[in-house]
C-alpha cells in the first residue's frame, strides 16, 4: 500500500472549535483552528455566539472526535457544564472536550472535575495543543 492510500484509509482527526456565549473575540479560536489544520486535522469552526445546544448539535452532525470551546467572557462555569451535559444526553460522552481562554486556576480544576480534558490559557504554545489533541484521541 502506498502512503497516499494509507492516508486515504485512515480518518483524519476531526475537531469542532466553538465559541459559546457572548464574547466576540475569536482570534485565539482561529489561531488554534489553523494550527490544528496545519497538523493535518479537519477543523470545523462554528463562528461566534453559539449556544451550547448549537455546538453539540454541530458536533453530532459532524461526528467530531474533539470539541474545543473558546471562552473569554467569564461564563465558562455555566457554558462548559451545559455543553458536557448535552453531549452526555446525546450519548457522546466519548468526545474529548477541551477549553481555551481566560480561565482562573481554581475554575480550571473545577472544569476538569466535570470532565474537561485540558484547559489552555493565554500563552499556550499551539504545538502543545496539537500534541495534546493527538494524544487524547489516540490517533496521529
Amino acid at each position: 500500500m502506498t502512503e497516499t492510500e494509507q492516508r486515504a484509509g485512515t480518518r483524519p482527526i476531526r475537531v469542532l472549535i466553538g465559541k459559546p456565549g457572548l464574547d466576540g473575540h475569536d482570534r485565539g479560536a482561529k489561531i488554534v483552528a489553523r494550527a490544528l489544520r496545519d497538523a493535518g486535522m479537519e477543523v470545523i469552526y462554528t463562528g461566534l455566539h453559539q449556544t451550547p445546544e448549537e455546538i453539540v448539535e454541530a458536533a453530532l452532525q459532524e461526528d467530531v472526535d474533539v470539541v474545543g470551546l473558546s471562552i473569554l467572557s467569564g461564563a465558562h462555569l455555566t457554558l462548559v457544564p451545559a455543553v458536557i451535559d448535552l453531549l452526555q444526553a446525546q450519548n457522546m460522552g466519548d468526545v474529548v472536550v477541551v477549553v481555551g481562554g481566560i480561565i482562573p486556576e481554581e475554575d480550571a480544576e473545577e472544569l476538569k472535575k466535570l470532565g474537561v480534558k485540558a484547559v489552555f490559557g493565554p500563552g499556550t504554545e499551539t504545538d502543545e495543543i496539537v500534541r495534546f489533541t493527538r494524544a487524547s484521541v489516540g490517533r496521529a
Binding site: R37, G40, Y45, E57, D63
Partner: protein, 308 residues
C-alpha cells in the same frame, strides 16, 4: 440493529457515523449503502457552485430556511478543500449558517485530495441523507469557478452564483461553468454593475445551444434574504420540467452507468493491487516505473494480466 436500519429509522447519530465511514473508507460502507440504496434517489439535489466569496454558503443557508418553511426536509453537504501538504482542512461553512438546530442536517466534507470541487464521498453522502429522509439536499462545492463541473453529475439542479464586477465579466463565464448552470444567480446585486452582469449572462445563455430549459438569471442579496424565494421557486420549476422531460430516464441510466463504472474500477483496482502487494510484485513494478524501465500503462497491463 445495523447502522443502515438506524439511519432509515431517522437516527441522527447513526447518520453522522455512517457519513464518517463513507468519507474514510468507501468500502467499509458498502454494506450500509447496499442496505439503504432502495430508499434513495428521491427528492431534489441542488448543487451550488461559484468562485470564492460570491456568497455560496450564505445562499445555501437562506435556501435551507426557505425550503424548511415550505415543509421540505433539508440536508446540506458543504465541501471545502483539504491541504495537499498536510491533509488538514478548515471547514468554515457553518459560520454563515443561522442556527436551525436539528431541523437541518449539515455535514462539512473535506476534498481529501479529490479534484473537481467535490469530495469523493459525495454520491454516497447524498444517498445516506436521502435514506435518512431528507428530500431537499443542498450541495455546496469548494469555491473554484472554472473547472468544478463534477457537480453536474450529482445535482439535479445546478446553481451557478456570480457577483457583479468580478474582473472582466466574460472571464467569469467561460465554457463549462456556463454550460453546467440550470439557474444563474447574480448575488450581492446591490453592487454596481449588477444589471450589466445579468444582461451579459442572459445574452450568452441565449447564444448557447437551444434546450428545453432556458436557465433563468436571477438577482439576489442572499444576506438580506432578497431574491431567495424566487430562487427556490426556480428550483422547483426546474425540478418539474426535469421530471416530465422524456430524457429523464436516459439521464437516470447515465447516472447509473457512472456509479457502476466507478464502483467497478474501484473494485478491480483494489483487487489487483492487494494481490500484487501480497506476492511482492507491486513494489517491483513501481520501482521499474520509477526508474523508467517500464511505462505506467505497461505496468498496469503486466499486473492484471499476470493475475488472469
Amino acid at each position: 440493529m445495523s447502522l443502515g436500519q438506524e439511519i432509515l429509522r431517522g437516527d441522527r447519530r447513526a447518520l453522522a457515523r455512517a457519513l464518517t465511514l463513507v468519507e474514510s473508507d468507501p468500502h467499509a460502507a458498502d454494506d450500509i449503502i447496499a442496505e439503504v440504496y432502495p430508499h434513495t434517489g428521491h427528492g431534489i439535489v441542488v448543487g451550488v457552485t461559484g468562485a470564492p466569496g460570491v456568497g455560496k454558503s450564505t445562499l445555501v443557508d437562506r435556501l435551507a430556511g426557505q425550503f424548511l418553511a415550505r415543509g421540505r426536509k433539508v440536508g446540506i453537504l458543504a465541501v471545502d478543500p483539504s491541504s495537499p501538504f498536510t491533509g488538514g482542512a478548515l471547514l468554515g461553512d457553518r459560520v454563515r449558517m443561522e442556527g436551525r438546530g436539528s431541523d437541518v442536517f449539515m455535514r462539512s466534507l473535506a476534498t481529501r485530495g479529490h479534484l473537481g470541487g467535490l469530495a469523493r464521498a459525495t454520491p454516497r453522502a447524498i444517498q445516506l441523507l436521502q435514506a435518512f429522509g431528507k428530500d431537499l439536499i443542498l450541495l455546496e462545492t469548494v469555491g473554484a469557478g472554472q473547472s468544478e463541473v463534477d457537480i453536474m453529475g450529482f445535482a439535479d439542479t445546478t446553481i451557478v452564483v456570480v457577483v457583479p464586477g468580478l474582473g472582466d465579466d466574460v472571464q467569469a463565464f467561460k465554457a463549462g461553468i456556463l454550460e453546467i448552470g440550470d439557474i444563474f444567480v447574480v448575488n450581492k446585486s446591490d453592487r454596481p454593475g449588477a444589471d450589466q452582469t445579468m444582461r451579459e449572462l442572459r445574452q450568452m445563455l441565449h447564444l448557447g445551444p437551444q434546450r428545453t430549459w432556458l436557465p433563468p438569471v436571477l438577482s439576489a442579496q442572499a444576506q438580506q434574504e432578497i431574491g431567495v424565494a424566487e430562487i427556490a421557486d426556480a428550483i422547483l420549476r426546474h425540478s418539474e420540467v426535469r421530471l416530465t422531460d422524456p430524457e429523464q430516464r436516459q439521464r437516470r441510466m447515465q447516472e447509473a452507468e457512472r456509479l457502476v463504472r466507478d464502483a467497478l474500477a474501484d473494485q478491480l483496482v483494489r483487487g489487483v493491487v492487494s494481490r500484487s502487494q501480497a506476492d511482492g510484485r507491486w513494489n517491483e513494478v513501481l520501482a521499474e516505473v520509477a526508474e523508467r524501465r517500464l511505462d505506467p500503462a505497461g505496468a498496469a497491463r503486466a499486473l492484471h494480466l499476470e493475475q488472469d
